[in-house]
Each structure stands twice: as C-alpha cells, then as structure tokens.
C-alpha cells in the first residue's frame, strides 16, 4: 500500500450512472488485479473504496456507479483535479490457479476488476471466457473493450434487453472452464458458486473504516477463520466462503 496524490486525467460517463475515471500517479503498489483504491473525497470523512479496473506504469482506471454522496461528488470532478488515494489495497486475484480456460464473471459494477484480470490472463496466454450480467442494456460496461482482447464474451440482462435474458448463471450452461473468478452482488456470487463445477475466487464488498486492516470494520467469518475484507480479501476462495 502507498498513499499519494493522483491527478484526474479524465472522468466520463460510460453507462447509466456509471463513470470511468483515469488517474495518473504512482502505480507501483498494485500487485494483482482485484485490488482496490481508497479515495479521500473533500467534505466526507471516510475514504471511499473503489475497485481497480486497469492500470499501467503511470495510470489507474476505475469505473464507479453513482449510488450516494461520495460517488455523486466524484461524478462532478474534472480533469486536472487532485485526489489523495491509498493504492494497492487488498489481496487481489491469484492468477496462478487460472488454468487454460478460466471463467470470469462480473455483475454490474463487479465488471471492472474482471477487465484488468482478463487483460493479464490473455497476456499470460490463457483463453478466458467472460460473462457479464446487468439489469438492462443501458448498464452494460466495457463490452467492446473485452471483445478487443479477442475473448469469448457473453452478456446477460435481467430484462432481456441485451444478450441472454436472466442472470449470469443462465449464460453459463454447458460451459467448459478450468477455474472461475467473480465479482458482483452477493446473490450472484452465491448462485455462481453453487452452479460452478470448479474451484474459484470471489470478490466481496463491505462497508469499510480504514481499508487497510486496522479497524476490523469489515470482518467476515470464513471456514478458515475471521477475515478482513479489506486486507485478507476482498478476494476469497470458493472453498472458504460461509454463505
């Protein structure tokens, strides 16, 4: 983890209530896809944790949905603005277990970490299958960017306005995959975990105090003992999760 001041390069709306923000600054603390940032927002006391979508040597990309005071303020920010951010928080996904055909499942704003993960798995020569689930067509995120990587992308929408009608699990039928990675709402994670026939990793959310393991605000019970979502997670193994 590092603390630093990051400059906003761009901040644009890319789907219903969802914005893409590109930040520039030190990215050396990021060690794995699935990690997150904790952003100090003027006028709010607690930092706001946001998953990392992608990063390179000098920029970090995040996608966030406007759901409350913090993200409302973020949506109003403009290029050139500066933010105090803790970078490289959490464990992230372990790509060593991916196998040849890992399944990546993102639900709603669970999509962003799947993008950074997919990019790196492709770079490793893997052949990921990507399933993305949303409420409706206007919520779909980064479809073109996934397709650019040449991976198999399937979309599910609850109202059927894009892709398969239903949940991500409805787009899984008959798929052959070696491992899975998932991020999204808890009901999706549970359904996926139940439906899967391989091992896998799931990224969880919780209200956090600090984001770096000090306050015990986000602890959950697992089969291997208490874990802090912010530090021992946000990624847990399928086998340790207590639903």
């Amino acid at each position: 983890m590092t603390q630093g001041i990051y400059e906003i390069r761009s901040n644009v709306k890319i789907a219903r209530d969802v914005y893409e923000m590109v930040l520039s600054g030190d990215t050396s603390a990021i060690t794995a896809p699935g990690q997150f940032l904790n952003i100090k927002i003027e006028g709010l006391y607690l930092r706001r944790p946001i998953s990392i979508c992608d990063w390179d040597a000098e920029t970090i990309t995040i996608l966030y949905k406007v759901v409350g005071e913090g993200t409302e303020k973020m949506a109003d920010m403009t290029a050139g603005g500066k933010l105090d951010i803790l970078v490289g928080l959490g464990n992230g996904f372990d790509m060593n277990f991916a196998g040849e055909r890992p399944l990546l499942v993102g639900g709603g704003v669970g999509t962003p970490p799947m993008y950074g993960l997919c990019k790196r798995l492709v770079a490793m020569g893997k052949k990921p299958i990507v399933i993305l689930g949303y409420a409706s067509a206007e919520d779909v995120l980064y479809e073109a960017k996934f397709l650019e990587m040449g991976v198999d992308v399937r979309i599910a929408t609850v109202d059927g306005t894009r892709g398969v009608k239903g949940f991500v699990t409805h787009a899984m039928d008959g798929l052959d995959y070696t491992y899975f990675y998932a991020c999204g709402p808890i009901p999706m994670l549970k359904a996926l975990s139940d439906a899967s026939n391989t091992s896998g990793e799931l990224s969880f959310e919780e209200r956090m105090g600090c984001g770096f393991g000090a306050c015990m605000g986000c602890t959950c019970k697992t089969k291997y003992g208490n874990k802090r979502i912010c530090r021992d997670g946000p990624v847990l193994k399928k086998e340790e999760v207590i639903w």
């Binding site: 105090g209 000090a214 015990m216």
Partner: protein, 303 residues
C-alpha cells in the same frame, strides 16, 4: 528546541501522542508504513478473556466529520494476544505498550488484567469500561460511579502496573465516575470513548449499522471531549489521557490545555494511516507558534 516529553504515571514518554485502542491493531500493520517507535506509545486492540468475533456487518457508517463503528470488541482473546500478537508487536515496537482490556463481568476484567499484568512489555493497562457496542457489556460499568469504582478496585488488586480507566461520555456526570475511579486506586483516567450514535439509510429505511447504534468518533466529538477533560481535571488529581477527535498537533495542544497529560489519536489513523506520525512531526512547529517550550507546562493551563 522544544521539549515534547511527558510523564504518564511514572513512565516518561517521548511525546504525548498515543494511537487509541481499536484504531491501531497490534501495531504491525502500521509498522509496514512507518517506524512506529516515533510514538509515545500506543494502546492495542481491546482484549477480552475469550476470543470474540464482534458484531455482524455493516459495522461502519459515515458521519459529519466523523464515523460510527460497532466492531464490538473483535479480538482473539487474551491467551492468543499474549502468545501471538504481543510477540509480533515486540518485533516492531520497542517501548512499553499500553494494553487495553475489556470484559463482561468483574471476573472477566480481573482475569484478563491478571494475565496482562505478567507481560513485561506492557507499560500501562487501560481498562475500557465504556464500550458502547456490546449489549449488556462494558458500557454498563461505565455509566455509574459505583460500578466504575467496583471494577477499578477489583483490577487494582491484581496489577501493580499503572492502571488507566477509560470512561464513557454517554453519561450525565462523568466527573463523579472519574472521582470514583480515582478513589479506588486508578492511576489515571482516559476519556472520552465514543458517543453513541446512529445513521439511517434512506434507501433501505433502516439503520446503516447492523447493530443499529455505533460509537461516534472523529473531529465532530472533540468539543465534547475537551469539555469533559476540562471538567474532570478540576475534580481529580490523577493524570488524564485525553481523546476524541484529535487529528492535528493543534488538537494535542488544545486537549492538553484542557487538562490532558497525554492524548490518544483514534479515527484519524483510519482516514490517514500516517496521522499519528504526522502529528508528532508537526508538534515542535506548533509548539513554537504558540510559545510552548515544554509540553508539560501547558497541562491544564486553560484553567
């Protein structure tokens, strides 16, 4: 040159800045970020007789200039604290540490304090009789002078280490409680613990925190903390460890002017992991700005 040293219950510390229990773990997460030996000391995570998971999540809520928490004394229990956490702590922190102890009965407090008393690296025992987040727990001891005195007397009997009783602000008369602790042999009192608060989620139309209420900390509670430290200073002769919303070196001076011998820094560590170090680095500059040569000189100087 300014002098930031203060004497807390017979132990001289390099400066009066003490990360508060529950915001600094057992120190080693912060030791990855900076050398925590710059601290006066720190108060480690509240320890109970038995291991505790604490409350269900969500345990945290945003507030104006502060936060609610309802962690509920999550800790691995005193045996594991002594056998696992303190050895890890000692690798990164080489000064006497402050042990923070909680309990759900007089017997539990005594049991845990007795165990902790045997640990050489512990300089002070801070007994929390004021956690607002445990039902039927420590809080009830902290809201009456009689119960506070009783706990103090019982733990006093099992330790010769400096004994600090941590008081609740959720009371009509904190002065009488502080006096009861002093009368039963406390070497110091620390105050304030969090104010009990609540936030409601307008979307779900339910309290944000699963436990419904949580403890309010952060700069928002500082004026209440300053007032209570000021009042208690007028009434007791033992030192006061002041806390509640301390986030800057200026806050340290304000709390000491009110009557604190040392200060604890709580929520600030969570929003800025370097907060305690930054405050210590900034202290000499702020002391010079306000003409303070020896920090000891300003303890209670606003009276």
């Amino acid at each position: 040159m300014v002098n930031t040293k203060v004497n807390l219950c017979g132990i001289e510390i390099d400066n009066p800045v003490i990360p508060a229990s529950g915001t600094f773990g057992f120190g080693y997460e912060f030791a990855e970020l900076y050398d925590i030996n710059c601290l006066g000391t720190f108060s480690f995570k509240g320890t109970t007789k038995d291991p505790r998971f604490g409350n269900p999540t969500p345990r945290i809520a945003e507030c104006p200039e502060g936060m609610l928490n309802a962690v509920g004394l999550q800790n691995p229990g005193v045996e594991a604290v002594i056998s696992e956490e303190i050895p890890k702590l000692q690798k990164v922190f080489h000064k006497p540490v402050m042990a923070n102890v909680s309990g759900f009965s007089k017997e539990e407090y005594v049991y845990t304090c007795e165990k902790i008393d045997a640990v050489d690296s512990v300089g002070w025992i801070e007994v929390n009789i004021s956690c607002p987040n445990v039902h039927g727990g420590g809080m009830s001891f902290g809201t009456s002078a009689e119960a506070a005195g009783e706990i103090t007397k019982a733990v006093r009997a099992v330790t010769k280490k400096p004994l600090i009783i941590k008081l609740s602000p959720n009371v009509t008369d904190i002065v009488s409680i502080a006096k009861a602790c002093e009368a039963e042999g406390a070497d110091a009192v620390s105050l304030i613990n969090t104010l009990m608060g609540m936030r409601i989620d307008l979307r779900r139309k339910k309290p944000i925190i699963a436990n419904k209420t949580g403890g309010y900390s952060g700069p928002a509670i500082k004026p209440v903390a300053i007032r209570m430290v000021y009042q208690v200073y007028d009434a007791v002769k033992i030192p006061i460890v002041g806390m509640g919303g301390i986030a800057t070196a200026e806050d340290v001076l304000e709390m000491m002017l009110a009557g604190a011998t040392a200060v604890e820094v709580g929520a600030a560590n969570l929003v800025n992991p370097f907060a305690s170090r930054d405050i210590i680095h900034d202290l000499p500059r702020v002391m010079e700005k306000y003409g303070v040569k020896n920090l000891t000189d300003i303890i209670g100087a606003a009276h």
